[in-house]
Symmetry: C2
Subunit: 379 residues, 2 copies
């Protein structure tokens, strides 16, 4: 009774019905998505950018924070924030990156895995600045035989019975692409606590589990990493015993800024009849977006949207679509295809943990004949 048991930390579960459990609600009131009207902004401010935190948010003191770089290296390093920020301009990088949670869309799958119950909104685009990972690893000197690099955060908890500091590893091949960096600013400001202050890992194109927050240690290892977040949690599995495939880069997705105005409770949209320009963003962690299609009849027919050319690699692209709305109840849908030919499934591509689920967004809309002017209750 006094060690961590299944009641405290249960194994992975599937929901038995559509109802959201208290466990899921506890996660949903802490973590938050991007309100989809924020698809209007090129860069998402903190507080509007999605956040998922596994355990508690640690409040680290930037004055005493240190980063250890150790393991299978020639010269282990220990840096404070000043030393990290004092590296030369050649080692610094600023990138505008679209970031999405691997569990986005999970709560729309059936049967639903019990975890953070995202619908469509676990995304955001930020401008991160910091220091190339390669600059640090070059100084430490990776020894022959190294296989992976492990990143450890200061956040500590238990998950499916495994007590752990949050840890994720990248293979040496991924590190050799020289895209990963250690961010010290988000949109030009020091990282806010919930985004990993003072330093987090950024790996452009990958789902968010890779962006280790509150980074305190980088360890080069000469064997395969078997930590929970790589080997168990972020896997695409069909059943409990399936070792599964690792979750890596972001699958293509398009989202629409819901048109008109919402009902408070149902979030159904009310749109006046007439011509509307539907807009949104689309992205992929594999390749630029090549095509966005919109359906205004719940997925029965599709038509091409206009897509803006790619900006930075892994930055979302704006799309727009002219819609002649006539009075009716309907569902608007949107789907993206990337230049590698990856596309979004119209029905779900189920897996046991609800990972990398990029099925299409559906926006219920009531198109109405607008009421006469001045019919709103006044003061």
């Amino acid at each position: 009774m006094t060690s961590i048991d299944d009641r405290t930390s249960p194994p992975a579960r599937l929901a038995e019905d559509d109802a959201i459990s208290l466990d899921e609600l506890r996660l949903a009131t802490r973590n938050h998505g991007m309100p989809l009207e924020m698809l209007d902004l090129d860069v998402t401010p903190p507080g509007l950018h999605y956040v998922l935190v596994h355990y508690d948010i640690p409040l680290l003191d930037p004055a005493t924070w240190r980063l250890e770089i150790d393991g299978h290296v020639d010269h282990p390093l220990s840096l404070d924030l000043e030393a990290l920020e004092g590296l030369g301009e050649a080692d610094r990088v600023t990138r505008r990156v679209t970031l999405e949670c691997a569990g986005n869309g999970r709560a729309r799958t059936s049967p639903r895995p019990i975890s953070q119950p995202w619908l469509d909104e676990a995304v955001g685009t930020a401008e991160w600045s910091g220091v190339r990972l390669s600059a640090l690893l070059d100084r430490a000197g990776i020894l022959p035989g190294a296989q992976a690099v492990v990143f450890t955060g200061a956040d500590h908890g238990v998950e499916r019975g495994i007590e752990q500091d949050y840890q994720r590893a990248l293979s040496l091949e991924e590190v050799a692409r020289d895209e990963a960096f250690l961010a010290t600013t988000m949109n030009g400001q020091p990282l806010p606590p919930q985004h990993g202050a003072p330093v987090r890992l950024v790996v452009p194109g990958w789902y968010g589990m890779t962006y280790v927050k509150w980074l305190v240690r980088i360890t080069v290892i000469d064997h395969v990493f078997t930590g929970f977040q790589n080997a168990t949690a972020y896997r695409i599995k069909q059943d409990r015993t399936d070792p599964g495939e690792p979750v890596t880069r972001i699958e293509p997705r398009a989202l629409m800024k819901p048109p008109g105005f919402p009902d408070f409770q149902t979030r159904t949209r009310v749109v006046d009849e007439g011509t509307h320009v539907l807009t949104g963003r689309a992205w992929s962690g594999h390749a630029p977006i090549a095509r966005v299609e919109v359906s205004t009849d719940g997925g029965d027919s599709w038509a091409d949207a206009e897509v803006a050319p790619p900006g930075e690699a892994y930055e979302w692209q704006r799309w727009s679509f002219v819609w002649h709305a006539t009075p009716r109840r309907t569902e608007l849908c949107v789907r993206a295809t990337d230049a590698d030919g990856r596309t979004q499934p119209v029905s779900q591509r189920w897996n046991r943990q609800g990972m990398a689920n990029s099925h299409v967004q559906r926006v219920p809309v009531l198109v109405r004949v607008p009421p006469p002017e001045g019919s709103q209750p006044g003061t």
Copy 2:
């Protein structure tokens, strides 16, 4: 079918069972609470401070924003942001205020009203700066016979069948207290979009529904305000036909920073046996906090915590309690009493819309014998 019907915008409802509905989840993934470990911070940054938005977040351009002051006044005014910020020092005010949603705790009531499903976390403390409401009303000149002041936001939606711009009114007596002001900054920075940029109302001591965001109009009226948010939504009602009492000032509440570390799914806390200092905050919109009591046995017995003296009026107060934890499973509870003698109920004080529900927080904890050093899986 093409006007707003009950399917698009249903009437108020109670849940039939404990299960959270998709309607509630849609709200929970948009809005967010303050992760309770942030009770450590005196001032809560945006992104960690709770946010509740009824409709969509409007993105207003500060360069073209205008505030109209009209109705039952001598000299209607129309101000841009520069004119508002250019008022003299005597008209400016900075206040550190604890703000809570009137629906905090709603999802723990039974039967549960269907709305934003807060557990305990809809709170935050910010430092707001701006211009006294009285300075503007003095310039406009309130005419004899005035009864109330109506505040209109730029956010537009439908709620229980009523299409509306978000509006709330204050009585002239409340305005005469000269505590309300129009905030243009939060924690020294321009308001972020989700907190009402460029200008929101602040009414220290009141629940959040009063803090009208994206403020665009202030109208003095010579009759009773019958708008939806005052007359229907924010009321303490026992049944559907009860006109109810208005929701006004914040009831006393204490919250605890959950000790130890969490399980990801259940948020149950794991604490090592030994002595721990439990800490948290307590506040009331009526009077300073006079007493905080803690229970470490699920509410069977209570002992006094130490409470810091009041800071600014309506700013939360820190409390602490020394706990000698022995191995067992238990529930920690905390409750506050203010200097007016108002206290938190141990069991729920039910009302049909889940408003001003300040029943005590309960934190499930497993106290364990710590495992031997080095038993965590390493890299």
